[in-house]
């Protein structure tokens, strides 16, 4: 138990989970509806966490999740049996999010704001949540993706490298820069709370 009172819940051994996902993907490619449903059920919470953020409303996050699954469905033939599933899934999810950002930027550049819109954020910051999400979201995109996939989604360096079409060395560099930025922000936050 850490100082915030949170207990890290044990999750299935990463290797076994990956093996199960690979088997489900192969059955999905063979048009097994049960396997497809099981993949949607197992992966949607993690995908929703990945797609959601303070800059998106809950409705937008849900739309992105639906869009992401449609892309996964259309691209299911590109998964090669025996290869890791999570990098394949997150590569598609990452581009779904990038495209959503671009679409929204394109729409906002053509629209006039008539009133202040504050949709419900997709995530909730509970009292026991010290703003991890907010701190990660403040990082540059490449560092944010690396930290999110490594620490929130629990992927390995190699899996993140594959999902971001990058190299392990580049992912490590981004992660280390992100750790340093997070240290600085946490230090600033604790100093400002002491002053108060």
């Amino acid at each position: 138990m850490n100082s915030t009172g949170m207990v890290a819940e044990p999750v299935p051994e990463a290797g076994l989970r990956e093996q199960a996902l690979q088997e489900l993907m192969v059955r999905y490619q063979c048009a097994d509806q049960t396997a497809a449903g099981e993949l949607v059920r197992q992966l949607s919470p993690a995908l929703f966490r990945f797609l959601a953020g303070p800059s998106f409303t809950r409705g937008e996050a849900e739309d992105m999740l639906q869009d992401c699954w449609l892309r996964i469905h259309r691209a299911r033939h590109t998964y090669r049996p025996g290869k890791p599933v999570l990098p394949w899934i997150y590569a598609i999810a990452r581009h779904t999010r990038v495209d959503a950002f671009r679409r929204r930027r394109h729409i906002e550049s053509h629209e006039l704001a008539t009133d202040q819109y504050s949709g419900l954020a997709a995530h909730e910051e509970t009292p026991s949540d010290p703003g991890l999400f907010r701190l990660i979201e403040a990082l540059p995109e490449s560092q944010r993706d690396a930290i999110f996939m490594l620490k929130v989604c629990g992927m390995s360096l190699e899996e993140v490298a594959r999902a971001t079409s990058s190299t392990v060395g580049a992912v490590k560099q981004r992660a280390h820069r992100a750790y340093e930025k997070l240290r600085c922000k946490l230090n600033q936050a604790s100093h400002s709370s002491v002053k108060k």
């Binding site: 850490n2 999740l65 469905h73 990098p87 394949w88 991890l132 594959r162 990058s166 997070l182 230090n187």
Partner: protein, 259 residues
Amino acid sequence: MSCKEIDEFLDDRVSRVETSVPGWVAAHCRQCARCQQLLELLETRVRIQPPPADLLSRVDEVIAGSLRAVTPLSSARSFVLGFLTIVVALAGGGIVTMGVGATRVMGIWQFAGVGSILGASAVLLAISLSRQMAPGSQQKVRPAMLVFSLLACFPLALLLLFPWKLAGGFVSAGWHCASAGLVLVVPASVCFWFLVRRGAILAPGLTGATIGLLAGLVGATALHFGCEIAAAPHLVVWHAGLPVFSALAGFLIGRLSGR
């Protein structure tokens, strides 16, 4: 122990599985408040309400409605061979058409140097394209960096290997080369695209640029054999300019078609 070593430790740590930290990490954190705070931050869970059940039901219905068996994509190696076969076939056809006049005016180092760069570039781009088609593929070199590097390397090599001398009829001779090269670039692009579309094109702009660059190199290869002007200005502008132009065109077409 330093904060850098904590960074290395964090690289390998799957936070939600391992609940205890090694002694040396705990000792460092007792002395370094910044690392202590960082570890506590990364250990906490992000609370996000899961997606609603009716959304997942809708996704299930859409998938079930169009669910049929699919054949997984062939191996990356087969696509690399496919791309290189197109390169060899079209470049070869161009060489047969344009002739091999360049071998009379170029030195062996000039001919071999440029030829090696063209060959190596084609292989690297073919590998990159085959990996761009399958999401989550391992990339030894980032595709965007590869495209930019090759776009820079080719003209640089021409500048280094060939003398700087302006020949008469710079524009007329150059336009003749460019148009001859374009005759190969267009069918090459179409052939590559037909192969690439079998996969999943996640970044249309980047994939378009890669296709354009590879097609441009097909034209540049034929020109390398057939053009009898061995002067750096002509080669940099009209031969190396061909892949630059086709990469840019591919990027724009990809971005517009991806909208």
